[in-house]
């Protein structure tokens, strides 16, 4: 529809593909650009220079840079669920249909009512959060904060779920090269030629770095052509991976780097199966950082006006994108970059009104070039202010003699020198070093395996960068064990890079911005200094200088240089704030990858899960496991009805519960018994073959760790179970004991939790049911296979199985285990064969009710604070041997007989409901902390007794049977009188176990 003019597009320049026209919108207005453009270059090509409003003062802002350091040109990209705020227009690759909106303006970009904030600036200076809004305190939440949030701040995040997927990947290489400018390309090429495995990453979508932006000759050809030939050669090596659109955001230990690959950010919607971004973990033996350098601005009045642009960015827009960033330029610099810039401006047909240099001795060649093209030269001079309200209309120049004059222009190209990109070199604790002759911080001590080359190291000439890159590539390859291959360094010239440090124009009449993203001015830095914030770290936090999405890439050095001037210290003595990962913002989606929603963690299913699902079970997450909680029958509308039925079935007929989630460990070896004696509090070496025993383990500090059973199948072969929750922890503990405490014992451990499907078959008809499936000649009678017997046998016609006569429910019960793949079949068989006995499956809820009825402790009692004595199991501890936790369990505090111990409770009013977590308080005592005597750990409605019952920890429990206490539960408004009773509620003598 709109074939917009692209009035600022140059005809004969740029690496864009003019055959591919792309349409995009900015604030709803359609424009055209070309493939190879960024959003910023396409906006400039269409004459759009106002692109956003600033954070605090809502000042008009344009495009300052051409890279990831951009503080101003932040836009909301895309819309709806894919809306992404704070996207830098300068690195957003243009695609057909791109939608972008400006940020932080109300109601529109050109008419921003909140620009009135600029008039309030006396109240919004450094530290204003701390000063202005302190009083009255109650106003903060209701008034100040909402107001500030509306007025200040950056873009709006999407309100819907991100519909795209994000991926994670690992890569390994000999040499990682970060950055593909002249140094990086030479490093990668030299290393690749030796046969080393090389990964070359660049945050840009095109390789080449400054060689795409500057008019240079390398090896007798144009810079961009040389780049193409190198990239083509790199592609020919099978061991080389080229990764454009990939930012190395952090350096981590042992040569590990975090990187984000923007796989599909340059298309409207990712293709099916393609992630939007991919988070890489790259592991490299050697790394060469060649991320180049970033130009910094000079701080002068109104230096944030649209039309003020870094000189190197001006050249990038002209040479790489074929765009005129203005019609008439003033160039302001303190270094030789100004001279290169006037040449490119003139070459592109842009009028240059003046070259303003803070130095007094410009190169004769620069002067004669200026004279030839009618460019006025101001030596020892400054641009004090940019003039113009929403864009630059002229520059106020103050000469060496102090006289000032305005020169009309719509572009001020500024260069205050270059900051080597040292951030990644400091992530592991290194400190950048100030180098006065370069007026720049250069990398200090580097992590092992890391080298830096090119302008990232402060080496600014092209020929030197190429040479240094080649040397770094060769050194890394040789260190990785490869033979150096003869690699010629292509011929090039070193450009002049003289600089004389200059930071801040003190004759500025207007606000002079140090940090444009955070609206921090030179006056704010001075205010902070006056108020005592004189360390760079304090300055940063007081003024917010260097924070937010650009992390001060264009502002940090200027800020601390101004601070150094104010404090009279050197920059070296002032120091810099530490850069931490990430180098540029990383989306949370990329960090999460596929680990979101149901995929946040793995779900473990038992072998008969499908059967339980068919049966309509309700499931509960226990750790990573999904366990059947109860199995409702048609017509049962509430869980308690179902659970009571399941309990009654077990108590009166037979029930089957899936206990496959228990931890299971084989313990083999001639010292297996001795080993178990040392890890359990009770004796296991005396356990007879074919028998099982309940056991408890302590932590070394004397606190109970886990309980379970140990079964002995042969003299040198035990099998133990752990609780579901502690399966992994107990194995790790036992491995520590075996390998580290007693390495000489002949013991081996085999975790077999997943190998066995295991079911509890419980109830008076349990034996009748099992008799139907055990293979002859196994004798399952009580006499042949009594309580606590174990055996290896076959079931269902030859299936290997293990049978344990154990009971958690208190009924006559067995646990039967079959290989995991037979679990489903076993469950279905038990249900079919058990029909005549009234069998029903039962879930974790009924299991819990029955263990409380029997007074067995579980997770709520084994809570990491209780001892064996607290749990009523103190008598189990053997006095004939040492075991882990024995010594420290005898400490006075843990052996104190008045410690809270597990005991039972029932409500005085039998119809009352008990609540877990209620605290015990004397019947007539006030409900205050000092009267607290313990708390309820587990409660259940007991269908066997017809009322609620509970287990709890109570001080001096044994001597208090029959006492009435308050169970106080202020959270749920509960205050129930309870009676202290023995912890076993059903079959106190345990007669049912042995029938």
């Amino acid at each position: 529809m709109t074939q917009s003019a692209q009035t600022a597009r140059l005809k004969d320049r740029g690496l864009i593909d003019r055959s591919q026209s792309l349409t995009f919108t900015f604030d709803g207005v359609p424009y055209n650009g070309y493939a190879g453009d960024t959003l910023a270059s396409a906006l400039l090509a269409n004459g759009v220079r106002l692109v956003g409003r600033s954070f605090k003062y809502h000042r008009p802002r344009g495009i300052l840079t051409s890279g990831s350091e951009e503080p101003n040109a932040l836009v909301e990209l895309r819309s709806g669920a894919r809306r992404e705020p704070n996207t830098k227009a300068t690195i957003t690759e243009l695609y057909d249909g791109l939608e972008a909106k400006s940020q932080n303006r109300f109601p529109s970009l050109s008419l921003d009512l909140l620009a009135v904030n600029g008039l309030l600036s006396p109240f919004l200076s450094a530290g204003f959060y701390y000063k202005t809004f302190m009083w009255p305190a109650s106003f903060w939440e209701k008034f100040y904060e909402p107001m500030i949030r509306r007025a200040a701040g950056l873009g709006r995040a999407a309100q819907e779920h991100d519909p795209d997927s994000y991926d994670k990947a690992f890569a390994f290489c000999d040499i990682l090269v970060v950055g593909s400018g002249p140094a990086g390309l030479m490093a990668a090429l030299t290393a690749a030629r030796t046969g080393a495995r090389v990964i070359l990453v660049d945050e840009n979508f095109a390789f080449g770095g400054r060689l795409l932006s500057d008019v240079r000759t390398v090896g007798g050809v144009k810079g961009a052509d040389w780049v193409n030939s190198v990239v083509a050669e790199l592609r020919s090596f099978p061991g080389v991976r080229l990764m454009p659109r990939t930012t190395v955001f952090g350096a981590y230990d042992t040569g590990t780097f975090g990187a984000v690959e923007r796989v599909a950010d340059h298309v409207p919607v990712p293709a099916a199966g393609v992630p939007r971004q991919r988070l890489w973990r790259i592991v490299a033996k050697h790394t060469i950082i060649a991320q180049g350098a970033m130009e910094r601005p000079i701080v002068f009045g109104n230096n944030d006006r649209p039309g003020v642009m870094l000189a190197s960015a001006v050249r990038t827009y002209i040479n790489r994108f074929g765009v005129k960033p203005g019609e008439t330029a003033v160039v302001f610099s303190n270094n030789d970059d100004g001279a290169s810039t006037i040449e490119d401006l003139v070459g592109a047909g842009i009028r240059v009104a003046a070259l303003v240099d803070t130095r007094t001795m410009l190169q004769p060649a620069t002067k004669s070039f200026a004279r030839k093209h009618g460019i006025r030269i101001f030596e020892g001079a400054v641009v004090a202010d940019a003039i113009g309200s929403s864009r630059v209309t002229s520059a106020r120049i103050v000469g060496a003699d102090g006289t000032s004059q305005n020169i009309a222009c719509d572009l001020i190209a500024v260069s205050g020198g270059f900051n080597p990109s040292v951030q990644v070199t400091t992530h592991l604790g290194g400190r950048a070093q100030w180098q006065q002759e370069l007026a720049a911080f250069v990398p200090g001590a580097l992590p092992k395996g890391m080298a830096v080359s090119g302008s990232a190291k402060g080496t600014f000439g092209l020929a030197s960068c190429l040479k240094e890159g080649a040397q770094a590539g060769e050194a890394a390859a040789v260190a990785s064990g490869f033979q150096a291959a003869a690699s010629a360094v292509p011929a090039a010239d070193d450009e002049p890079s003289d600089i004389s440090a200059f930071w801040h124009v003190k004759t500025a009449k207007h606000k002079a911005f140090v940090d444009q993203q955070n609206d921090v001015t030179a006056a704010d830095v001075a205010l902070a200094e006056r108020e005592g914030y004189r360390s760079v770290e304090h300055l940063k936090r007081y003024t917010t200088l260097g924070m937010a999405t650009d992390q001060g890439k264009t502002s940090n050095v200027n800020g601390l240089a101004i601070l150094a001037q104010l404090t009279g210290k050197t920059i070296a003595a002032t120091g810099a704030t530490s850069a931490r990962p990430p180098y540029t913002p990383v989306s949370l989606g990329a960090l999460a990858g596929e680990h979101r929603g149901k995929h946040f963690k793995a779900t473990r299913l038992t072998p008969s899960h499908d059967w339980a699902k068919e049966r309509g079970a309700a499931f509960i997450e226990t750790g990573m496991w999904l366990r059947a909680q109860y199995y409702p029958k048609p017509g049962e509308n509430d869980w308690l009805t179902t659970v009571c039925r399941e309990v009654n079935t077990v108590r009166n007929a037979v029930g089957v519960c899936d206990v496959s989630t228990l931890g299971k460990i084989e313990i083999h070896g001639t010292d297996a018994g001795k080993f178990l004696d040392r890890v359990y509090i009770n004796m296991m070496s005396t356990l007879g073959v074919g028998k099982a025993r309940y056991g408890m383990m302590l932590r070394e500090d004397g606190i109970a760790m886990d309980d379970g059973t140990a079964a002995r199948f042969a003299d040198d072969r035990y099998f133990i179970t752990t609780t579901t929750a502690n399966a992994i922890k107990v194995l790790q503990h036992l491995e520590l004991c075996r390998q580290w405490y007693w390495p000489d014992l002949d013991v081996q451990l085999f975790p077999v939790s997943d190998q066995w499907a295991q079911y509890s078959v419980a109830g008076p008809r349990a034996r009748d049911l099992l008799a139907k499936i055990v293979d002859a000649p196994f004798d399952i009678s009580n006499a042949a296979f009594p309580y606590m017997a174990v055996a290896e046998l076959t079931v269902m016609g030859g299936i290997k199985a293990r049978l344990y006569r154990l009971s958690f429910s208190g009924e006559m019960a067995y646990e039967i285990a079959v290989p995991a793949r037979q679990g489903d079949r076993l469950m279905r068989t038990l249900m079919a064969k058990g029909e005549e006995f009234g069998v029903a499956p039962y879930g974790t809820e009924a299991l819990g009710v029955m263990r409380i009825e029997k007074g067995h402790v579980a997770g709520p009692e084994l809570n990491g604070m209780t001892t064996a004595g607290d749990l009523g199991l103190g008598k189990m501890a053997s006095t004939k041997k040492d075991f882990v936790g024995r010594v420290l369990s005898q400490r006075p505090g843990l052996a104190d007989p008045t410690r809270p111990r597990v005991v039972g409770f029932r409500p005085v009013d039998r119809s009352a409901r008990l609540r877990g977590g209620a605290h015990f308080i004397g019947k007539d005592d006030a409900a205050v902390a000092q009267n607290d005597q313990g708390y309820m750990t587990s409660v259940a409605y007991s269908p066997s007794l017809g009322h609620w019952i509970g287990l709890g920890l109570l001080s001096g429990a044994e001597s208090r049977m029959g006492e009435i206490l308050r169970a106080f539960d202020p959270v749920r408004n509960g205050d129930v009188l309870v009676e202290v009773v023995p912890a076993t509620f059903v079959d106190v003598e345990g007669a049912r176990l042995r029938v």
Binding site: D253, T254, T256, L736
Partner: protein, 98 residues
């Protein structure tokens, strides 16, 4: 961080779990000062800045406990040994096989 497991080769640290100082040896429970010795064993730790011997467990690998010598100042891993072999050597040196 990457740890060179003697059985599995160099692996990422997320496969391992950390326990602590490997220079601390479980005391003799039969010794007369066992109470004090176990208290120190359980609770007293030096905050080492520099190379430190640590116990790591290759949980997502071979289940071996390892004695890793790591410089706590920069996470450089200087040495990795099988904990069982270290413990056997220690027993041999002390003549305390149990």
């Amino acid at each position: 961080m990457r740890i060179n497991c003697p059985h599995c080769g160099q692996r990422s640290n997320d496969e391992f779990s950390y326990l602590g100082d490997a220079s601390i040896v479980r005391p003799d429970p039969a010794a007369p000062n066992a109470n004090e010795a176990f208290y120190a064993f359980g609770y007293e730790r030096a905050n080492i800045a520099g190379p430190m011997q640590e116990l790591w467990y290759h949980a997502a690998g071979c289940h071996a406990w390892l004695v890793v010598t790591r410089d706590t100042r920069n996470h450089e891993i200087l040495d990795v040994k099988s904990a069982q072999e270290v413990a056997l050597e220690r027993q041999k040196a002390a003549g305390t096989a149990q």
